[in-house]
């Protein structure tokens, strides 16, 4: 057990060093690289905390998609770097910030050290109900059975964020193509990479989605992988993003939450409550919701990375 603790301590030190450097480094581009590295280390921590579902999400979101999003922004904003450096706050501000941050850290640390023992847990309650959902993975069961409302609202949050991003388009680019376009030679190495990687990646994404019912995995993780593969193909110059005014795109984007809501409210008739599933039908209904949410999430996550429309729609 001491060996495992040594690994934990090393991991902690590594993470703290990486976070401090990400905050302190002058160059924004370097900071983004630090942040992605930090996300990768967090994935290892989630595994150490016996939360493989969270580790999968962190690996997909924290490192991959957020990294691509931030790097695109950092590249575009590079010309503002030197102007921003002149705005460095005064010594007083920095001291006050350091004191405040240290106080927050100390308060949280005291809370951590005084957590109740034995720890309260809902694990037995979740385990007791697991059989009735027909789902093997307790996290998926929580996401789609006991706390389905959260998951629905989460999908809607992703959608609303996308609407927010789109609404930041210039008037003339309204409903047009997102900025993301490739500089890559369509016969170059990147195209080759995308041609080989994307099909295998799509299989992995669907696999992660599919095993989510019984093992760690699920729609968010699978959708993130699929979104990343789509962006990869676009980045390699093999495909284009559609203009955001396309009808099929908008239909697919709202279809997932809509199916979720319909099934949820059908519970009022078929079972006793909203988001209750009739006996014996829990698993197929959960599966139906997951499958309907999948395209919504893939499209929404990829388009969030692509950003606001920048070019005019076709006339």
């Amino acid at each position: 057990m001491t060996l495992a603790l040594a690994v934990d301590i090393g991991l902690t030190l590594l993470i703290l060093a990486m976070a401090a450097w990400t905050i302190a480094v002058r160059d924004t581009f370097a900071s983004v690289i630090g942040f992605v590295t930090y996300g990768l280390l967090l994935t290892l921590v989630w595994v150490r905390l016996a939360a493989p579902d969270v580790a999968l999400t962190e690996a997909a979101m924290g490192g991959g998609l957020t990294g691509a999003l931030l790097i695109g922004a950092a590249a575009r904003l590079r010309s503002t770097e030197s102007a921003s450096r002149t705005e460095r706050p005064s010594v007083l501000t920095r001291t006050l910030a350091a004191v405040l941050s240290a106080a927050v850290t100390a308060a949280l640390a005291i809370c951590v050290l005084n957590l109740p023992d034995p720890a309260p847990t809902l694990a037995p309650a979740a385990a007791a109900q697991l059989g009735s959902t027909g789902v093997g993975n307790p996290v998926t069961a929580v996401l789609l059975a006991y706390r389905a409302m959260d998951t629905l609202l989460e999908a809607i949050v992703v959608l609303l964020a996308l609407v927010g991003v789109w609404s930041l388009a210039h008037d003339r680019a309204w409903g047009g193509y997102p900025q993301l376009r490739s500089h890559a030679d369509p016969d170059g190495i990147l195209a080759y990479f995308a041609r080989v990687m994307a099909p295998v990646g799509i299989i992995v994404g669907i696999y992660i989605f599919w095993i989510g019912a019984d093992f760690p995995g699920g729609k968010f993780q699978g959708a993130t992988i699929l979104a990343a593969m789509w962006l990869l193909v676009i980045g390699a110059g093999l495909a284009h993003l559609p203009p955001v005014s396309q009808t099929w795109l908008r239909v697919l984007l709202v279809a997932g939450p809509l199916v979720f809501i319909v099934i949820g409210f059908a519970g009022l008739v078929t079972a006793e409550a909203v988001f209750a599933y009739p006996n014996g039908y829990a698993k197929p209904l959960i599966l139906a919701i997951e499958i309907a949410l999948m395209p919504t999430l893939v499209l929404a996550l990829a388009l969030l990375v692509a950003g606001a429309p920048q070019r005019m729609p076709p006339q």
Binding site: I33, A50, I71, G72, A75, I208, G235
Partner: protein
Amino acid sequence: MTMPDFLLTASAFVLVMVALGLIRILRGPEDVDRMMAAQLLGSGGIAALLLLGVATEAKAVIDVALTLALLAAFASVAFVQGISRPDGDDSKETRGE
């Protein structure tokens, strides 16, 4: 020394190696160098994760490593594109829609 202990030690060793490689992230000097250190952390992290997973017989860890391998590759490509693109502006693009 049992097999899990050996694998755990190997995992810790790889992590330490990767941590030393992170000095390159601190030093730079160019973003390319930093990216290389991040790439080393990517493959080292995957190796450490696999060793850890097999040592503790946690099957799901292999899936995590698989996801990590995919997304790390994706992020690396996004980074190189970001580096070779001065300000993200693409008006020099000649291929029309």
